[in-house]
């Protein structure tokens, strides 16, 4: 077994195992068009703001 074969097999097996894990966990499969910008933010620094006269 030549070094290039060993390197390729190790890399390919690692990559296949990696995508196996990702695919099983559903990672990378979420819809790409979800709009997450609607997360509710904090109310701001209300205490500090109250000091503004």
């Amino acid at each position: 077994m030549t070094p290039i074969r060993i390197v390729f097999l190790v890399a390919a097996l690692g990559a296949t195992a990696g995508v196996g894990y990702l695919g099983f966990m559903g990672i990378g499969g979420a819809s790409a068009d979800l709009d997450r910008s609607i997360r509710v933010g904090s109310a701001g620094n209300a205490l500090a703001s109250s000091k503004v006269k």
Binding site: T2, I4, R5, F8, L9, A12, A15, T16, G18, V19, G20, L22, G23, F24, M25, G26, I27, G28, G29, A30, S31, D33, L34, D35, R36, I38, R39, V40
Partner: protein, 434 residues
């Protein structure tokens, strides 16, 4: 080892020039470097014939030079200048006859700046002989096998001796010709050589150029330039290309299987198909997710009349009442008939995939803000809408992406190897009959 009683030098019996005797016991002819007389080494160096008007070939190697080839020490004892002329074009190359007291004789050929070593090949070859006439009659490209290597016909050449100097194991004559049928293998070449008096099979190897030049002590500036690739030259493709192509194909297949498996692992039902009361839109639907591993899937199915569409707006809120995302999907159903027959565009089902952030009760807010008939936006014409939810689904996307990468690697290496092989065979004189 040289015999202590062996002659080390002679004087040319024609011109009196001093000539070193370097070859072994099989030398029969010695061509004087000064006057071109061919002397009979087996008969007191009497003059046999004389080479005249010879042009010295362009080689930086000289008789007496020593160097290393294939792990053995060799000395140059004779130089032949050869020429082939065909269709108004001519090709020249130089053969250097090498001698090793332990390994006998070999040729070091200098052609277009490339160094090749050739030896008489005594191992079994199938077929045992191939003539130029047999090649002419062949319907398919002839081939041969020897030493575990398969050779395919490359070219036929007829060479003429244009220059000779030094010692030889046969009697070269000026203008002598020989016909060579050459076959090319993956690593070496095989040649059936017929000089009119005897037939030989020879095998050639491409040499590590710089190492050989160095071993013969030829300075870089004195080495001839390389004029194009040589068919014996190792192709510039990655080592183990065949293995890499096969391995890439196997891993691509493994990824394809993984994709199918993950596609089938669609998770389990959390909310069975549940009708939405369209009269109360916008409306909210709640469901419980019990795990965060895997994908959760919202599936919408609409009952649409022909040539209608509806736009679904969905907002999902997590158990902490924090909005996770907003998504929009179009449902539609179109059908008709054209010159190619009946057609249908059925998009009555659509999905939204997301990763749950935590376990608990999620709230889906639904609305149908737009819809219409045809391309008009004149209000939703949805008959019914149902929603279902699954969790713990896998994704085929990662293995699919890796599968494409492996396919690209396999195809790329295959095309690279094919291109390199095509360059090796570009000089072949074989033409397939179409």
């Amino acid at each position: 080892m040289r015999d202590p009683g062996q002659v080390h030098a002679i004087q040319c019996t024609n011109c009196g020039a001093g000539l070193d005797v370097l070859g072994g016991g099989r030398v029969t002819t010695h061509v004087c470097s000064y006057c071109g007389s061919a002397l009979d080494a087996l008969d007191n160096y009497r003059v046999l014939t004389r080479f005249s008007e010879m042009t010295r070939p362009a080689t930086p190697l000289r008789i007496g030079d020593t160097g290393q080839l294939m792990g053995q020490g060799w000395q140059i004892i004779g130089i032949l200048g050869l020429c082939e002329t065909w269709a108004g074009k001519s090709w020249t190359w130089t053969d250097h006859l090498l001698f090793s007291p332990t390994h006998g004789y070999a040729w070091l050929t200098l052609e277009d700046g490339h160094l090749i070593v050739t030896r008489r090949w005594r191992k079994a070859v199938s077929p045992g002989w191939m003539s130029s006439a047999q090649v002419e009659r062949a319907n398919t490209r002839p081939g041969a096998d020897s030493d575990g290597e398969h050779f395919r016909y490359y070219e036929t050449s007829t060479a003429r001796i244009a220059f000779a100097e030094g010692e030889f194991t046969w009697r070269p004559r000026q203008e002598d010709t020989s016909t060579t049928v050459s076959l090319l293998g993956p690593r070496t070449s095989l040649a059936y050589v017929d000089n009119g008096q005897e037939r030989e099979i020879e095998r050639s190897w491409y040499l590590p150029q710089a190492a050989v030049w160095d071993s013969f002590g030829v300075a870089v500036a004195d080495r001839p330039g390389i004029a194009g690739p040589h068919p014996l030259q190792p192709a510039r493709v990655p080592a183990d290309t065949g293995f890499l192509i096969a391995a890439s194909a196997v891993f691509a297949a493994v990824c394809a299987v993984l994709s199918v498996v993950f596609l089938a692992m669609g998770g389990r039902d959390v909310l069975p198909p549940t009708p939405v009361d369209l009269r109360t839109l916008p409306t909210e639907i709640t469901f419980d997710l019990t795990e965060t591993a895997g994908l959760a899937q919202l599936r919408f199915h609409g009952d649409l009349a022909n040539n209608t569409w509806a736009w679904i707006g969905a907002t999902l809120t997590d158990p902490e009442d924090v909005p996770l995302f907003e998504a929009g999907r179009e449902l539609g159903y179109y059908s008709g008939r054209d010159s190619e027959g009946h057609w249908v565009e059925d998009n009555r089902d659509t999905t939204v995939l997301f990763h749950p952030t935590e376990v608990g009760t999620y709230t889906l807010e639904l609305d149908i803000p737009e819809g219409g008939l045809g391309e008009a936006s004149d209000g939703a014409v949805l008959g019914s809408l149902s929603v279902s939810v699954r969790e713990g689904a896998s994704s085929a996307r990662p293995p699919l992406v890796l599968m494409v990468i492996f396919i690209v690697i396999a195809i790329g290496l295959f095309l690279w190897r094919q291109s390199a092989e095509a360059r090796r065979w570009a000089g072949s004189d074989w033409e397939d009959d179409d």
